[in-house]
Symmetry: C4
């Protein structure tokens, strides 16, 4: 890891592969080391809050070069550190000739960043309570204001519709594009018999939406099995409540981060 | 934090803002520092027992000045300390010009204290098993004697009935009054697509009721999905059993407190 | 705590109240201190395994004087130590004038010991998955061989049948006798809107049955909500499997004890 | 424990009983001590991930002598160490006259190893979410790609069909053969009112399948109670996805192992 100095923002870092050249993708430029720390912390938060198990991944768009993004190499997200971060271009190729193993499904990230300029962070998970909703006709609805982003609707991407029988993985650009089309302008998209993606305008928002999608799914399951109609948030209530949540994302982040840092200290 | 000496009760403390003046609300007078410790411990108990996540808040009425109450500044309740306590008047304005950020929904507390002189402590939470009961027609009933206070009935406050589409928050006095009217003389009131409030004659009772409302909700969900009629506590059984619980609140409190103090030591 | 020496079995202990006299109940004689340790460990196991929360209690019959039994004073069972043990006679009166506070429901224990000479240990709990089965008509059945004792049938005691509206507590000898009649010759009896009792030929067996009653209840809930008939253990299968379990109770006990001792060390 | 030196692979170990003779089964030869460590770690992983409680067992076929296998002596798997490993022949007799107590159900392992040359490791558990599926007519299906091995079908072995009322245990060779017949060529077989077996081409695969069978069962329960048809993995999707999982088993194993080693360090 090389360390540079940015006159404006203090010390800056770049992954070791950011000096790559030739026809490989080139780095989008050095970023603050804190961003890599945050990706590692966000990955561990998703694990600690039950969104990730040994699988799942989190990415952040490059803060100044929008056609690059960062995520960890292929690894269990609960073990991520700032040294594990890889930079990719929007075709999901590693920058600077980074030869570390990459997630098979990195194309989820690249293609959504292409299709959604407003998105700055993406979480892909197999979060357990969400999977059943990818399998049934019962659509997800927003059970409470903290999951207000769900009130806009949660589409389901069924890879079999376009590709027939597959290994279920979004393992190339074409499948990534199809998933991005299913997501459309929403915050969450379920993936049949697989999991989901949650997106947001920042790392904190994407993580928060992944966590609250899991919580909302469990609540909706319980409400559904109680029987009868469910007085879920209306679309308008969801829009109004989400504005509050967007402003208040710092509070859960600080709590989750504190827990993760304590666990890291105890390791 | 200034420390004073009360001739009768030993050392007394007041939050730093309690000397405020002008047209700001004035403090109701110094109280024993132990009360602030108890608010912090109660907040952490609610988090440890699954009633709070990053959100939720707990207040206690001023012990000698009934038109003042205490709660933490706006923060994750799992991180509360005695230094985070703010004093408010019943219009939910901070006393002594305290400029720390406050919970948007502090009006829940102020307006219930106005309407219910018997209430000395209030918990507002998004406790997960309770939320589904705020969304369905199936009313909460008391599943066992430890949750006997539920047998008196649990009303549901739907903010949309009076205010149409909102961000769901009880963020002003008027909405607080409407919630207090829904609560009426009960111990618990659900809030549609949001959470609940639990009230009691002491901090220990309000916390205990918040915890047992969550436990009871989970039990009722399980009993409901087993099918058939549920032989819940009758109103009379609830009244008789609640008298025993009111006297015995010290036992769960001591256990929960011990756990929270151990966790604080390990931090 | 006085310490004596028994020529046959090494050091022996008796609770401080065992020298009582007058018309108070007299002690059944000194017992090995290990028995008191085991009651404390068994209480903590029930808490650690989710059978007890702040409430619930465990007793053991005196090993040589069958009309005496031991349990802790009134306290949260998760905090029990060998110093908290009280000796009682079968009318549930403390021996030797012990003046420590006692559980209101100690009569559950005294009256079952009277009615069931084969029972040497009793657990009374509000174990959460069991409570729903005390409220519905769906009877408990044995879902797997480790809970084989349930195949003999699980009666439900409804205190209201004999006593009308009460505080739900088995708080005198008469109610204890009624509960013992409902239990009959079984290993477990549910108590409507309250909890259950599990009994066994030793402390280890009673604790194990309390734990597996909770586990079985959760399994039966899940099986029931899957729909259709449930191929539960037959009564004959239950009898045959229970014989194996009776012989093998040491294995779970050692594991649970090890965990509890580790937690005590970390406190 | 004797320690030898293998010229090719470094230090080699054999259980103390591997020098046995007479008409007792003879050892299949020394193996790397790491294998015994892995059996202990795998046993503890199954406990930590909720597949084992005080019961359950894991075996591995001898790496060079296919008619021998290793498992722990009869004990709680959460406490297993490399010193607890016993070698058995395919009639499930201990090698070298090992006189330590053995699992009553070791015949599950011996008979499956006889019938399935491709199987190199077996997990038998009472994993809780799986048991309900052994009791109802609703067959297990694959809810997501990580549990793809389930898409091939999950048979149910009902010991009563051949043996009538028993203690439910697979406690002899004959019953082990019957179970192996039910398993057929599949990766998982449920055992009515008892539990399940999961098998695989390596220890890591068998453990992973046991863990994901439990996870899949919980997901299928939730999906079923949501109502309506479930768009589970097709058999073809399962075959394609399982190929990916077979290659990627190292990732969850490393995470689970790291957790177990941390817990062992804290003991």
């Amino acid at each position: 890891m090389r360390i540079g100095l940015c006159r404006c923002h203090g010390p800056m870092y770049a992954p070791e592969n950011s000096m790559g050249a030739g026809d490989a993708a080139s780095s989008g430029g050095r970023v603050d080391r804190q961003l890599f720390e945050d990706i590692a912390i966000g990955s561990r938060i998703c694990a600690a809050e039950g969104v990730f198990d040994a699988f799942g991944h989190l990415s952040v768009r490059h803060p100044t070069t929008p056609d690059r993004f960062f995520m960890t190499k292929s690894m269990a997200p609960a073990l991520a550190t700032a040294d594990d971060i890889v930079e990719l271009d929007l075709d999901s190729r590693p920058c600077g000739g980074d030869s570390r193993p990459l997630f098979l499904e990195r194309f989820i990230h690249g293609e959504i960043y292409k299709a959604r300029p407003d998105v700055r962070s993406i979480v892909h998970s197999h979060s357990p309570s969400v999977i059943p909703f990818s399998l049934v006709e019962n659509p997800m609805r927003a059970m409470f204001h903290t999951a207000a982003f769900i009130a806009a609707g949660v589409p389901v991407f069924d890879i079999a519709e376009l590709y027939g029988e597959t290994d279920m993985l979004v393992s190339d650009q074409d499948k990534g594009k199809a998933l991005a089309r299913s997501l459309g302008g929403k915050s969450v998209c379920l993936m049949r018999a697989h999991g989901s993606v949650a997106v947001g305008p920042s790392l904190q928002h994407a993580v928060s939406r992944a966590v609250y999608t899991e919580i909302n799914a469990k609540l909706q399951w319980q409400a559904t099995t109680l029987g009868g109609p469910i007085a879920a948030l209306s679309e308008g209530e969801g829009r109004l409540a989400d504005a509050v949540n967007l402003a208040g994302v710092g509070r859960p982040w600080e709590l989750w981060k504190k827990r993760v840092l304590r666990d890291m200290r105890d390791e």
